[in-house]
């Protein structure tokens, strides 16, 4: 090759084709996709909690995208039906995730609705789930001599409870739990979509 202009233009054409396929076409196809009926917008507390989820990097170990039962038994683990584009209407940035060092959380709110469990599990996962390798998040909690009115106290088995004090959840921990409990997508996808194939425009 002798011509640098041809080199660069060729290179930009190939990238343009890739961008068209992976970014522009999905953009055009999904731009007007409405939220799945039954999906609620996040409340302020849930959005704050979602931010904690992002900040702590939960997405690096937890996906939010169950696969179809024809591919993998995600539904049998209680992770729910396969997800569709409309389920992510209110999600920005997206938190699909590509790791399952821990379980999928698309329906964690439906599957594990106990706030007590969520809080204690964040404080010390191994208190409730032996052998778990999830990090403990002690910095989302405070240890106080005794609880004050309005404090959200975390119940812990004796082995994990701090000596001479109680564990109290901070606002961040409570927000995170309210986000997790909102992850409940047990509703079905739009009925008129029942005829899913063949697609044509």
């Amino acid at each position: 090759m002798e011509n640098e202009v041809k080199l660069i233009s060729g290179a930009m054409v190939t990238l343009a084709i890739a961008t068209a396929s992976l970014v522009v076409l999905p953009y055009l196809q999904l731009r007007h996709e409405p939220p799945t009926p039954g999906l609620k917008p996040y409340t302020d507390a849930q959005l704050r909690g979602r931010h904690v989820y992002i900040r702590e990097g939960c997405v690096y170990c937890h996906s939010q995208q169950p696969r179809d039962p024809s591919q993998a038994p995600d539904d049998k683990r209680g992770w729910g039906r396969p997800s569709v584009a409309g389920d992510y209407y209110y999600d920005s940035p997206h938190l699909l995730g590509t790791m399952r060092t821990g379980p999928d959380l698309f329906n964690i709110g439906a599957r594990q609705p106990s706030a007590d469990w969520q809080l204690g599990h964040l404080y010390q996962p191994r208190a409730y789930t032996p052998d778990s390798i999830m990090p403990a998040y002690p910095y989302l909690f405070e240890v106080r001599k005794q609880a004050e009115p309005g404090d959200k106290v975390v119940a812990l088995p004796p082995r994990f409870a701090p000596t001479g004090g109680v564990v109290v959840a901070t606002q961040a921990a409570q927000d995170l739990v309210s986000y997790l409990l909102a992850l409940d997508r047990t509703f079905p996808v739009l009925a008129p979509l029942a005829d899913a194939s063949p697609a044509s425009n």
């Binding site: 179809d68 024809s70 979509l193």
Partner: protein
């Protein structure tokens, strides 16, 4: 201009800058390209990726369009919804989550057990000699009658528990009985009044 003070031994000892010779592409390479292209065309043709773009990759319409099909398998439901707190062996967590193994609430009246599952419990409850003061969530709006029956039957026959199975009809009857309720049962005290 080159800096004459620099030591250029390294530059002097190296080979000429590389260039390319004009050897033909091996036949093997051309064959490989042909095979891969043929495979690619076949793959796209055979895959027929016709699902609606908004539904996602390889979605089965019946799973999405209907009310999600739920396995009515007590063990699976227990594993997905209950085991995190009550533990796989039904032992619970000391001072936090009550045990199910040997619990009078599990082995006793099936009506009360169903009511606990439907509405949850908030407040002090004594289980197997220990008092617990937590909050059990309600499952009435998350699980159907058959599922509650399956999971109740499962826990009544595990870990040494030997109580009778629960039917979906009983669950349905109990659901109707407390249809107006929207709050959890207020601890063991209120549950005791149910029998």
């Amino acid at each position: 201009m080159p800096d004459t003070s620099r030591n250029d031994h390294a530059q002097r000892r190296e080979n000429r800058d590389p260039h390319e010779s004009f050897n033909p592409v091996p036949r093997l390479m051309l064959g490989l390209i042909a095979v891969l292209l043929a495979w690619a065309l076949y793959y796209i043709y055979a895959a027929r990726p016709a699902t609606l773009p908004a539904l996602g990759d390889r979605r089965s319409a019946e799973v999405l369009a209907a009310v999600p099909a739920r396995a009515v398998d007590g063990e699976q439901i227990f594993g997905a919804n209950c085991a995190a707190c009550h533990q796989a062996a039904g032992t619970g967590i000391p001072q936090v989550f009550p045990p199910l193994a040997g619990s009078a609430w599990v082995n006793g009246s099936e009506q009360v057990l169903i009511q606990i599952l439907l509405h949850g419990v908030n407040g002090s409850i004594e289980v197997a000699g220990n008092t617990f003061n937590g909050e059990m969530p309600a499952f009435g709006d998350k699980l159907g009658d058959a599922e509650i029956a399956a999971v109740a039957s499962y826990i009544r026959n595990q870990w040494g528990n030997q109580a009778g199975a629960v039917t979906a009809e009983t669950v349905q009857a109990q659901r109707t009985r407390t249809a107006g309720r929207s709050t959890p049962w207020n601890g063991g005290a209120e549950l005791a009044t149910l029998k």
